[in-house]
Each structure stands twice: as structure tokens, then as C-alpha cells.
Symmetry: C2
Subunit: 423 residues, 2 copies
């Protein structure tokens, strides 16, 4: 396709059109062909690591000139070890079972026609993200493995790295059965290229945003293409009256401090008043020793020293940091009510030895994942054993919770017969 | 909930809030409790049929005064027989298996935690429709059976009928375990009430539009709440060179004329040039005898008399009427290309005795339902044996094709353990 005469067509439309056209061939590839292509991609990343690192250096220099924080620069930085990890990620996706072509249902109707329901690729997936360059490889691997085309729109901070990475992957695909056009990267870092993707019904089948709350909300609010919403997690742990102290401590500390920056970490700890009377002071000390700021309601602050006062807004805040809200509740009912009012319904935990209370919590809390005596930090595709994770869906349509490869597929009914007509 | 002091809160927000609150109780009802409530609803419709017919008479009078067509008035009209059919529909939904609570997956992880995935209700479903009052009962039955609350926004032409029907259903629910608030009807016939529903993230979990293309496109284009798109069908039948004439005739006639007004009827017939040379004239006569206007490409018009010329726009038009496009193709490749360019990917059929061509068609056409030697008219929840149909999804997320009760559910991961934390 020569694009020289098509100056009126935007980059986004051009690339999405190429991706859609390639999706037809993608849909026909065998698992072996797809795996072979992914392995070539992995090898190419390693073989071309010097040029990728050079491109990455341009991003880093621009970042430094723009005053980007050291922690963001560290996320952006690529080196041989990180590129090897990206290649390993590709090889791991090769090992995963291919869901495409799976026969999900089969039934014969009284008129003799056979109805079969197969898994098929979604078609063209639009990924909008802002994170590290490894997301570029990760998203490409998962989408291509499932027979989809993918249009990637990464953050401008990593643009040079992403361009070189995709160039390398395209070169690898040239000697494979997989059409290179199935993998598209939008070069424009203009906000309008995102806006355009959001409305590209007919060329993009599904949008998956990955990143901070404002990126995701922009996609959810403005897209006309169907979206899989991922991300925001205001997660609670409720320590019930009967909870084992050691277990409650272990779970609460893990849920907060093991990695505070992620969506399945805890933001608010709810503590039964009787448990709190005995243990809150000691529990608070443990959090302080993990450099965690506590913001308590009035009763919590009476029971443990060193807490700030929690504001109304705090209960609805995803800190992603070493900050934790603490609220004393009179029992399960108050805990359930608080969670219903303030949760994003991502991951919610009860610590209790009381089977009935556990059962009620697991039944009544309508979150993507509910936990009894297990840290919320396990809401994760790898921890669930999926071998991959596209993200954690916080919506109720299509997929909910950690998404593995099947979340990147749709279905198709195939009906065969010998002349059946409807009466 | 007293609403007298809340004059600033709109009807839509008030009712959606009540529905959301009721969704908590809905989620806890047993199948028996839900079925008992549906049976009471069925009995109440029959017991109160006189008042429903009176309310319907008001709608009919208004419709006549407004110059509504006889066919639309006929769709709107209720009588004892139609009310009995609505009640029977409710009783049939009672007989269907309840998908809520189904255990879909279960696995133990190496750390000993047990992960189970259960079906749960979606929560609050917003139904926006314009059709006959029976949709009110039908949608309520399917949503409530699956443990959802539902906010109904029907067409203004049926408002008095719908109001009385919902009043009767509410009275029936008062003596059941099901909260009456789970069933809400928006009275406002102002367009703004639809606009408001489309943006009600947090109160409405999913929107399902049912109706004409403009209604559905308005919802798809403007909603920020996730949507299940239903409806539009530009369906093709391709008669291959090797097709059996009698079978091809039977399927093509059935796909077009058995009920032209529905989405799974055929709009365009593609005919292999060799088959057309032998049979198109006879085939055309059969369509004429069924009062069907034919619009052909140039070659079709050379082979059969009486056809109008098809315009470019005709290939992209869903007639829902006794009009059919006819195009002659040189073979399977051209047929596939035409379908890819003009189909809404709803239902597509090949009539052939050639196994390889059938296989290619079924594999390469990415529609919700693909057919070999079977009329497209079977894309239907009842015909597929689902016992119900919420609609036919034409999108690729969540559900695709005819949607039975499971399409009105989401899932939840339930994780249980004995103190597992992430390392």
C-alpha cells in the first residue's frame, strides 16, 4: 500500500486500516506459525539490543532535559538485562496454550443443524498506555499470540525506544508467516491521535487502556469503540473480631507495603472494634516500622498514637503509596457498608476465623476478586497461574479481574446443515 | 426512601439509585425466590389484564391522534391473548436454568490458596427500547431472573401501557422476596432521560439498546456506560458454483421472505457466475412470486429480467423489507471480499456442495454466525435453544450472536486460604 498520495488520511487511520487488513491473515495463522513469529521477535530484540539501547538513550536524554524524575527515568531506561527480560517474556507467551480455535460449545438442534461455538480473535486491539517500553513488547506478544492485530499508542516519553523496538519486531516478522502490518505503532505523540483512536469504530474492535486513572478515564468517557476498563483499585482489608492476630498482621502488612504502587494493594484497613481494642496499637507500630503513614477515624486515633485524621476524601483515594486509612467498625455490616460506598470493586479481603462472616463477605461484596484470609496482592494474572496478564479488568462486561489470553478473544457461531430453513 | 426533599435529583438518578440499592438484595436471592417472584408477576398480569388494556387504549388513542400507522398501532395494541402470551413468556423464563452461582473454574495454586470463579449478576442493567409493550415484560423477566436490577426506558408511544404493566408487576413483587425497586421504569419521555442514562457510570453497569439503527447508534456513540450493541444486520447468502439448486432456492427464499423485517434476514444475494448462468432467471421469478423487488448489478440484470439497478449505497443498506440486492461474483474470493466490505458481520451463509469452499467461508468470514447450507434466519436465541433472547450482539466483547441468560451475568473470583501473602 502506497501512502504517498493519501496525505489527507491521518496516521492513525492509515495504520489502523493496515492492521484491520492484516487481521484477516492473522485469523488464519496456525498456532505454530504464530509461535514461530514470536520466537523470531524475541531473537531479534536480543540481536538488535545495541540499537534499541541507543534509541532509548535519546528518550532518556530528552527526559533529563525535561526534568523527569529519577524514578520515572529508571522505569524508562533499557539495558541488556531488561531487553533480555522482554525477549524472555515473548518466549513465555509462546509456551502458553493458544485459545483461538477452541470449541466452547456444540449442540445439534431438533432440525438437524449443528451449532458450534469457537473462540476467534477479537480483530484489531487498540492499546493506549504510558508506561515503560516493555509494555510495547508485552502487549504485542499477547495480542499477536491470540491472532489479533494491534495498534499501539505508547507514551511520548518512550517514543524513540518504542519506534526502534517496533522496527526490530517488523524486521523479524518479514521472514515469518505473520503479516508485519498486524503490529502498528502510532508515532504521533499528539493528544489528537488518542482522541482519533477512541472513535475508530469499524477499524478498531476493542480498546484497552493501561496507565493512570486520568488516562483510563479519558478513554472510558470518550471512546465510542468498546473498552475494557482496567486499573483503579481502592482495596480494603477487613479484620473481623475473630481474626487471628498474627495472620491479620501478616496479611495487612503485605497488602499495604509489599508493593504500594500497584492497584491490588490496600488503601483502607477496616478493623472490628473488639479486635482494635486489643491489637490496633501494636498493628499501628508495625505499619510505622514499614514507613507507612496512617490516617485514622476518631476511634482509631484514640486507640493508637501517631495517626493523622482521615478526611472524607481519603476514603475515596487510591494512594498507591505508603499511606493507609484506618477505620474502626462495629462489625461486619458496617464493614460491608463502608466497602460498598468507597470501593472500586477491584479486590476486597476479610480476615476472620468465623466461617459465617467469611461466607457473607465473599457472597455480598461484588468485587472482581474477594479474599478470605489471603492478601489482596494476589489479584494478578501470573499469581492466578494464567502465565500472562493483559491487565486487570474492573468492569463487569467481557472479562473481570486478571485477564489472560482468553480475554483477548471473541467467539463465533458456526452452523452447518443440509438445507434447513425456518418455518 | 423519601424523595420529597430531593427535587434537584432527576427521575433517572433517583430510580437508578433505587435499582442499584436493590441490586445488593437481588444478588442474594435464591433461584427459588426469583422464580416465585416471576410466577407472581405472570399471575398478576393476567389478573390485572383489564386495567392494562385500559391503559393501552390511552396509548392507542394518542397514537391515532398523532397519525401513527396501522402497522405500528397493531404492534402497540394489547389484548387478552397478547397479555396471556406475556405471562407465558414469564413462566417460560422460570423454567430456564439460573446461571447465577455457577462455578466456572476452580484451581488451587502452589501456595495452597483456592481460586474459584463464579457467575454473578451484572448489577444494574439499563434497557433502552422503542418497541412493543411486551418488551417491557420480556426484559424485566430476563434481567430479574439473572439477579439483576433493571432500569427500563421504553418508547413514549407505549408509556401508559408500560406504566400500568410495571405498576402491576410492582404490586406482585410486594408479596415476594424480590425487592420491587429492582424493577424501574423511566416515565419521562424526554430525550434527555436517555442521555442521562448513557452517562450513569457507577449506577448503571451495562446498557442494552433494542430498536432501530438510530436508537442503537445514539447509545453506542454517546454512552460512557459499557454497552452491548445489538441489531443491525446486513446479511448475505452466497450461492456457490456447486450449490444444489433446490437447496439454494429454498434457503435464499427463506432468508429473504420468511420475515424480512428482522435483523437475520438476507439483504444481498451473491451468486456464482456459473450457477447464475443456469439458474438466476428462475430464481428471480421465485422472488417475484414472493413480491420481492430485486436490485441487481449489471451482470445480474443481463441474466434475469425485471431487476432494478443496484446503487452503490444499496449494498450497504439494511432494507428490512421485500427488497433484495443481487450480485454476480466470479467465485468464492470475490464473494468473501464483498461480504467483508459490506457486511455488518451478523449472519452470513454459503450454499455449496464443495467442502473446501464451505470450510474457507466458515473460517474466513468473521461474523457472529456463519452458515453452511442453512438459512441465516436461525440466528436467534430460541432457535439456538437458549429458551430466551435478550437480543443479538453484533459486537465482539462479552457476548456475540444470540444472547441467552448467561449474557446477563458477570463473574467474580473468590479466593480462600489460610494467611497467604505475596513474597
Amino acid at each position: 500500500m502506497t501512502l504517498s498520495n493519501q496525505t489527507s488520511v491521518s496516521e492513525v487511520v492509515q495504520k489502523a486500516s493496515l492492521a484491520k487488513h492484516a487481521a484477516q491473515r492473522m485469523n488464519m495463522l496456525t498456532t505454530e506459525q504464530k509461535n514461530e513469529a514470536l520466537l523470531k521477535m524475541a531473537d531479534a530484540l536480543v540481536a538488535e539490543q545495541a540499537s534499541i539501547i541507543s534509541a532509548n538513550e535519546i528518550d532518556l536524554q530528552r527526559g533529563r532535559a525535561n526534568g523527569t524524575s529519577e524514578s520515572l527515568l529508571d522505569r524508562l531506561a533499557l539495558n541488556e538485562k531488561r531487553i533480555a527480560a522482554m525477549a524472555d517474556g515473548l518466549r513465555q507467551v509462546v509456551e502458553l496454550p493458544d485459545p483461538v480455535g477452541d470449541l466452547l460449545e456444540q449442540f445439534e438442534r431438533p432440525n438437524g443443524m449443528l451449532v458450534r461455538k469457537f473462540r476467534v480473535p477479537l480483530g484489531v486491539i487498540g492499546m493506549i498506555y504510558e508506561a515503560r517500553p516493555n509494555v510495547t513488547v508485552d502487549a504485542a506478544a499477547l495480542c499477536l499470540k491470540t491472532g489479533n492485530s494491534v495498534v499501539l499508542r505508547g507514551g511520548s516519553a518512550a517514543l524513540d525506544s518504542n519506534r526502534r523496538i517496533v522496527e526490530v519486531l517488523h524486521e523479524a516478522l518479514a521472514s515469518s508467516a505473520m503479516p508485519a502490518d498486524a503490529l502498528q505503532l502510532i508515532f504521533s505523540s499528539d493528544r489528537s491521535s488518542v482522541d482519533e483512536m477512541l472513535k475508530l469504530n469499524g477499524l478498531i474492535d476493542v480498546l484497552i487502556p493501561r496507565g493512570g486513572a486520568s488516562l483510563i478515564q479519558n478513554v472510558v468517557k470518550n471512546a465510542t469503540v468498546p473498552v475494557i476498563e482496567t486499573g483503579a483499585g481502592i482495596c480494603h482489608t477487613y479484620i473481623d473480631e475473630s481474626a487471628d492476630y498474627e495472620m491479620a498482621l501478616r496479611i495487612a502488612i503485605n497488602a499495604k507495603v509489599q508493593r504500594p504502587s500497584v492497584c491490588n494493594s490496600m488503601e483502607t484497613l477496616l478493623v472490628h472494634e473488639a479486635f482494635a481494642a486489643n491489637h490496633l496499637a501494636a498493628l499501628a507500630e508495625q505499619f510505622y516500622s514499614h514507613h507507612t503513614e496512617l490516617r485514622g477515624d476518631e476511634r482509631a486515633r484514640q486507640l493508637a498514637s501517631g495517626m493523622k485524621a482521615a478526611s472524607e476524601q481519603d476514603w475515596d483515594t487510591e494512594y498507591n503509596d505508603y499511606i493507609l486509612n484506618v477505620k474502626i467498625v462495629s462489625g461486619l455490616d458496617e464493614a460491608l457498608a463502608h466497602i460498598r460506598n468507597h470501593s472500586t470493586m477491584h479486590s476486597e479481603c476479610i480476615v476472620t476465623e468465623h466461617a459465617g462472616n467469611a461466607e457473607r463477605f465473599l457472597q455480598e461484596i461484588d468485587a472482581a476478586a474477594v479474599y478470605h484470609n489471603v492478601s489482596t496482592r494476589f489479584t494478578d494474572g501470573f499469581e492466578f497461574g494464567f502465565g500472562a496478564e493483559i491487565g486487570i479488568s474492573t468492569q463487569k462486561l467481557h472479562a473481570r479481574g486478571p485477564m489472560g489470553l482468553p480475554a483477548l478473544t471473541s467467539t463465533k457461531y458456526v452452523v452447518t446443515g443440509n438445507g434447513q430453513i425456518r418455518g
